[in-house]
């Protein structure tokens, strides 16, 4: 039996958990009945994509698993909505797309479960495929990619000489390498952000680093990086490079029928192991196991369940409302209380036709400067419908009608055929309000890493944050598979 992680030598532990090397190779290779009754019992808290993937992997390891989910549906922030749409149309209101490369573990499940990934070009502002008719609004004017590579245009926009030379030969999204290539090359082990001669970057933000490297104000406006821990930023680029993920983030896809097909595929295999409307109200743990208190749907009296391990797959802002006895260590409590997440809605427009073709645009993939809408893109056609689904980014809390009005204000064409606008307000979802992990703040990486990857006794933690590269659903399923293996090996 392998030693528990807390007893392993630190560097060995980090290598085991790092970036998913090895971990991502386990599972998803063959779908089989549990190979052996390991005699272990595990409770998975939360039936979002992380919890379902983790429970599936635990089941594959022969572990007796139960998933307790507080809401009446599984999938969490992976949510495909049909309500309000005709012709069987649907829209993903949560997780939007997959990338290739970058979603290797996820695509193993796609293949294993016989799902179909459909190309979804320019998804959520993706620059791929290149020169596909995308338009970017700058100071009120729209630019094509070719125009954005023109030295005269670049000079007018305020880039410096080095940036103009670079951007006339490279797409804009590669600009970070102009300033950070030397830093990125110093990192070799995805589990080790420290000790690469860049530790001082933990104290500054990425924008400050770009400024130090000579970036113009215009470049810094494009690159962002304010409030982003510079060491985390550079290390993240290095992990992406190590995994072969380009700065374009790769080609984009979604699942035929909607991304919720993946949670559905896991849930179908888990069957009655998934208990919906079973919120956990308290967790107690000791050297021998974990006792979870929960309420079953329609029952007032609390019930308890005992297991050898608990894997928390609830997002941390929701998890921390659940009392844990004895309390978590101060180091783990810091992680639980301080991981920050993004939370934003997608606004979904249904149109009767591809109206932008009439206006001479080959594609509807545009970014805007309007405060109520920052970008719009099209979703691949859905069979048996001539209607079109568009998705837009706008601030949380706005009504879909207001975001549509903003689109009509900035759209450079003459007319549109949009007939309704919808959204799902995640900020009012008490159980799945958060999306992806936000980058760590300056001065905090040492407090998060590697604590964020560690178990606390019999309590394990999986989720988008629990991977060396927090990046959409892939980091969810990677951390899920890693933890399932750690529990199996413990």
């Amino acid at each position: 039996m392998a030693r528990p992680p807390e007893q392993m030598e630190r560097r060995t532990f980090l290598k085991t958990v790092a970036a998913g090397f090895g971990a991502s190779m386990i599972g998803a290779t063959a779908e089989a009945e549990p190979s052996s009754a390991a005699g272990k019992r595990a409770i998975v808290a939360g039936a979002g994509i992380t919890g379902l993937a983790c429970a599936y992997e635990l089941m594959q390891h022969g572990i007796d698993v139960t998933v307790l989910e507080a809401s009446g549906r599984y999938g969490g922030h992976v949510f495909t909505g049909h309500d309000g749409l005709s012709d069987g149309l649907w829209a993903d209101y949560g997780a939007d797309h997959l990338t290739r490369p970058g979603y290797e573990q996820f695509f193993r499940y796609v293949d294993l479960f016989g799902l179909e990934a459909v190309p979804y070009p320019n998804a959520e502002g993706s620059p791929l495929p290149a020169n596909n008719g995308q338009l970017m609004q700058i100071s009120g004017k729209f630019y094509t990619e070719a125009q954005l590579a023109d030295p005269t245009t670049l000079k007018l926009l305020g880039f410096n000489e080095g940036e103009i030379a670079f951007l006339s030969r490279h797409p804009w999204y590669e600009l970070p390498t102009l300033y950070l290539a030397g830093h990125i090359a110093r990192f070799h082990d995805p589990s080790q952000p420290f000790g690469n001669g860049c530790d001082d970057l933990d104290m500054i933000d990425l924008d400050t680093l770009y400024a130090r490297q000579g970036a113009s104000k215009r470049a810094r406006d494009y690159l962002g990086g304010q409030h982003v821990n510079a060491l985390y930023g550079v290390w993240r680029f290095s992990v992406m490079k190590g995994r072969g993920i380009p700065l374009s983030e790769g080609e984009t896809f979604h699942l035929k029928g909607g991304n919720e097909e993946m949670p559905k595929a896991f849930a179908a295999r888990l069957g009655a192991r998934v208990k919906l409307n079973h919120p956990i109200t308290a967790i107690s743990h000791d050297a021998g196991g974990v006792t979870v208190t929960y309420t079953a749907y329609g029952r007032d009296e609390p019930q308890t369940m005992r297991a050898d391990y608990l894997v928390n797959c609830i997002s941390l802002p929701v998890f921390r409302r659940i009392p844990v006895t004895p309390a978590l260590s101060p180091a783990k409590q810091y992680v639980v209380d301080n991981v920050t997440y993004s939370s934003h809605p997608f606004f979904v427009f249904e149109a009767e036709s591809k109206f932008w073709l009439d206006d001479g645009f080959t594609n509807l993939a545009m970014s805007f400067e309007h405060p109520d809408i920052s970008s719009i893109w099209g979703v691949p056609e859905i069979p048996n419908s001539t209607r079109v689904i568009l998705k837009a980014f706008g601030p949380s809390g706005l009504s879909p009608g207001r975001v549509l009005a903003a689109f009509r204000e900035v759209y450079p064409g003459k007319h549109d055929t949009i007939i309704q606008a919808l959204t799902y307000d995640w900020s009012r979802d008490a159980l799945a309000p958060t999306c992806e992990m936000e980058p760590f703040a300056p001065g905090t990486l040492r407090r998060f890493w590697p604590e964020i990857m560690k178990p606390e006794g019999r309590l394990y933690f999986a989720g988008t944050y629990a991977d060396a590269l927090s990046r959409g659903m892939e980091s969810c399923v990677r951390s899920a598979a890693r933890i399932a293996k750690e529990v199996a090996d413990a």
Partner: protein, 238 residues
């Protein structure tokens, strides 16, 4: 045979008449009732422990138990008291207007009282701005109109649904009391609180839990609640 038929008919008629009467009778409006069902009154918990609570609210024939009232109409306050035996400790002061507004808006989707979420905690905002001139007006403006750049990469969305007076009430509470560690709030019919003591607690010290209803009231109602809406939990050293 005939008599029996008539008898049955009369019985059926009476039943249907009663049903009509019942349907026609005005529904008596029931007052506000708030019950803290867990933890038990006068129970004991270790200092610093995090513990679950459960509250049931019913009003006007509707209950949180059946989802007729949404969970976010319930706010639980957990306040440290040095002498939990003193009768005055059970006298719950009014819920600050700002906290009531927080429970009814979507603030909690991105903020928490003492920990980071998509946005900074109310405690962190209170700590930064306590005692600073114009802070309330500035934060009220951020709530209404949105803001970005003050706390990281995320943006605060606008809240045009909140009236200026409501946004000001939220900002006033956050600035003045957001960072008060001895009074905690939790929103929802279930959740958790911590047994927090500011200093070394004496043998009679504890935490008073008070539950409040923040939903709409019928005209003429004051919000005064019946029920077991205040509970004392004594702190223990282990």
């Amino acid at each position: 045979m005939k008599m029996k038929t008539i008898g049955l008919s009369i019985a059926a008629l009476s039943a249907s008449f009663l049903a009509v009467l019942l349907r026609a009778a005005p529904v008596a409006r029931s007052g506000l009732n708030i019950d803290i069902t867990s933890p038990a009154d006068r129970s004991r918990l270790p200092w610093n422990a995090q513990a679950p609570y459960a509250v049931t609210v019913s009003y006007n024939g509707k209950s949180t138990k059946y989802g007729e009232l949404p969970a976010n109409v319930v706010v639980l306050r957990a306040a440290y008291v040095s002498n939990a035996d003193a009768p005055s400790s059970r006298k719950a002061g009014a819920l600050p207007e700002g906290v009531a507004r927080i429970s009814q808006s979507n603030c909690m989707g991105c903020h928490d009282f003492t920990a980071s979420s998509a946005g900074p905690s109310f405690a962190a905002i209170g700590k930064r701005y306590a005692g600073k001139a114009n802070a309330v007006a500035m934060i009220a403006g951020h709530i209404r109109n949105g803001s970005s750049g003050a706390w990281g990469g995320g943006a605060m969305p606008p809240h045009p649904d909140l009236a200026p007076v409501q946004a000001t009430a939220i900002a006033q509470w956050v600035v003045a009391h957001g960072n008060d560690a001895t009074v905690q709030y939790s929103i929802g019919k279930s959740g958790s609180f911590r047994m927090v003591a500011p200093t070394k607690a004496g043998p009679h010290a504890g935490v008073v839990l008070s539950a409040f209803y923040t939903g709409p009231l019928e005209p003429g109602d004051t919000g005064k609640a019946a029920g077991h809406n205040t509970v004392v939990v004594y702190g223990s050293s282990s």
